[in-house]
Subunit: 384 residues, 2 copies
């Protein structure tokens, strides 16, 4: 199959796939001849995956403990929450464990966020898609002229004007990687303390940094006693274990209790329980922090290389991905199709994302070796 045929096949698949980009698996099922070399849609730290696999192999597979993991019921929600509370050094009862962060998002939006939700756009689509028909979604459009960076003063003003029941801030934001500085976020939380529900999604916070120390800086310690704040945390990205399905939300104890009163008791699988037990272990965390920093450093270099490519604009990001605008009339689907067909590099075609004006792709940092392939591919497709 030649590159042109692959390109055409990608285009027709894209047309059929609605508001989500086609998954790598569906592309490969649809175009079996296609060899994907790098999945640059996939927002995860590959070194953290390696680390987890090393532990999993040593502790679960080589010992045969995997058998019990598969056979027996995992622990209940509150037991697994205990490992997370230990890790975060917070009071017990504040953690709701989800089957992926997405389940925690769904539980919060469906149970606590009646009325008006204010969602910044562009953003992760679940926050508006999971709103049910009785809920009203209003958008806060991030400003393209300011590189989609949140202007905290303007944001506060708009929230005061719209008076929503619920606001959502993803930090760093997806798809642009825009980062709200720690102090700015605390300032906003203070000014907006009257809002009934404030959801802070820190799913990409392990990739962000305030300065070159690259310390991990989460708002959890500052909001643990604020009953109206929820902090969402996916584990799939920073730990590179999307197949495990585990995440959590920090919220008021009473809200956790209410959710567990009528559901969610047995929503972790054996893999997730194993992961959260690791998450509370210092030996694992010490090694994890090394691969976190290594990956951030490489991502920084990767972004600086992307910045040197002509005819694109790379938006400032403090996450493990960048939003790239194609300039001079280039088209998103064209570029995505050519990257996949000629170079086996799969990037996120952003033409379904609401709140973006222009032609955008999102590119994830992968391993050092893969980053080189991505750079070369984009250079060739864009610069010709």
């Amino acid at each position: 199959m030649n590159a042109q045929t692959i390109e055409n096949k990608y285009r027709s698949l894209k047309e059929k796939s609605g508001t989500h980009s086609p998954s790598l698996a569906s592309i490969q099922e649809f175009i079996p001849d296609l060899k994907i070399k790098v999945d640059a849609c996939f927002l995860s730290n590959p070194y953290a995956t390696e680390l987890f696999l090393e532990y999993f192999k040593k502790e679960m597979i080589d010992t045969g403990k995997i058998n019990a993991l598969l056979e027996f019921y995992p622990s209940q929600n509150n037991v697994i929450a205990g490992f997370i509370e230990k890790r975060l050094n917070i009071d017990e009862g504040h953690v709701f464990v989800g089957n992926g962060a997405i389940e925690a998002i769904q539980a919060i939006i469906h149970n606590y966020c009646e009325g008006k939700l204010m969602i910044t756009i562009p953003t992760f689509s679940a926050y508006y898609e999971y709103a049910i028909s009785e809920q009203e979604v209003v958008h806060y459009q991030l400003n393209k002229a300011e590189n989609y960076r949140l202007d905290i003063t303007d944001y506060i003003k708009q929230v005061e004007k719209e008076k929503p029941n619920t606001i959502v801030l993803i930090n760093p934001n997806n798809p642009d990687g825009g980062y709200i500085k720690y102090d700015d976020l605390l300032f906003a939380l203070d000014k907006l303390s009257w809002v009934k529900n404030i959801i802070i999604d820190e799913s990409f916070i392990h990739f962000a940094y305030e300065d070159s120390d690259m310390e991990l800086k989460s708002v959890v310690p500052n909001v643990i006693n604020k009953d109206n704040v929820y902090v969402i945390k996916s584990m799939s990205k920073d730990f590179g274990i999307a197949g495990v399905r585990c995440g959590y939300a920090i919220m008021a104890k009473q809200k956790v209790q209410d959710l567990l009163k009528n559901g969610y008791l047995w929503n972790s699988n054996g893999l997730a329980e194993y992961f959260f037990r690791l998450y509370a272990r210092q030996d694992f965390l010490d090694r994890y922090d090394l691969v976190r920093r290594k990956y951030i450093t490489e991502a920084l270099f990767f972004i600086s290389e992307l910045n040197q490519i002509k005819n694109i604009k790379v938006y400032p990001s403090r996450a493990n991905f960048v939003l790239i605008e194609l300039l001079n009339g280039a088209n998103t689907t064209d570029v995505t199709a050519k990257l996949i067909a000629n170079h086996g590099v799969y990037v996120r075609n952003c033409d379904d994302k609401i709140g973006l004006e222009g032609q955008f792709i999102r590119v994830a940092a992968r391993s050092q070796k893969e980053n080189k392939i991505i750079i070369k591919a984009i250079k060739e497709v864009i610069e010709g």
Copy 2:
């Protein structure tokens, strides 16, 4: 630690554990000296577990595919539903995949069952515990004098009198294993076709039989076009894979669509996707059916042995467990504690189950070898 100390420790743990029996894991954490030889609480086919582990080792571990299973996002709900629809030979769009059957139960009860729920008791507690405060739960008490067997005529009469929005029938029922014959169930479905929601839970149906052919007889083909019927199916029991967390519900296409419109898109983990792919494969199913029949046969023999023990009453069961009433003043917690302390046999203490009058334990059939240990232990504790 002597048997008396273990017995006392079990008693104090039981007191603290509320409406659910303490899990094996919490018992072992609380009494580290205790050696559990047989977990006769655990309602699963150990031969099916062995079969799954054989496939999993060969196809996932030995090939290294486990790595991708852990790293990448599994498929979306409707893709995995496709494997189940293929297996059941039903139209696409009728399957809602759950993170365990329990998630499907929660989704149905919270989204479709407003108003009055009629729950037969004794039964699996989630059906009444997951009802939210706006819902009214009324009980249909199964008659002890009739061995807790459902009298279908009386049941229909009571439903007509109470006019609930939702009725639930678990077949075979937990904790007694009472079986509603296929024709009786179809008769009831016909007479009660006006009920807004009819939930049939077939989580234990693979262990039931109409006659010595031991054919698997599910109502799914008969109800697929009835928009008011839901069929719940756990995979944990018959396939012995509780750690995987996978189950599903069959329901009207429109209801599946409504649930997926605002949630549940990514609720299967990599293990669950692997399992459901197996579930659609004939080579796996053929081998599974052999271990299903082997296990039923052994369970039949096990129950006939239990029937010969004095001072207990074994209730008629067509599942892989039996409800046992302790006679002549014996006490449930005493007997459970002695079984665990003196014999390492853990049985389900049923004193938290509503709708049972008397002193009851529930005992699961395990492997042939384990069944012998259970029989010997009960004999010694009961007959002295």
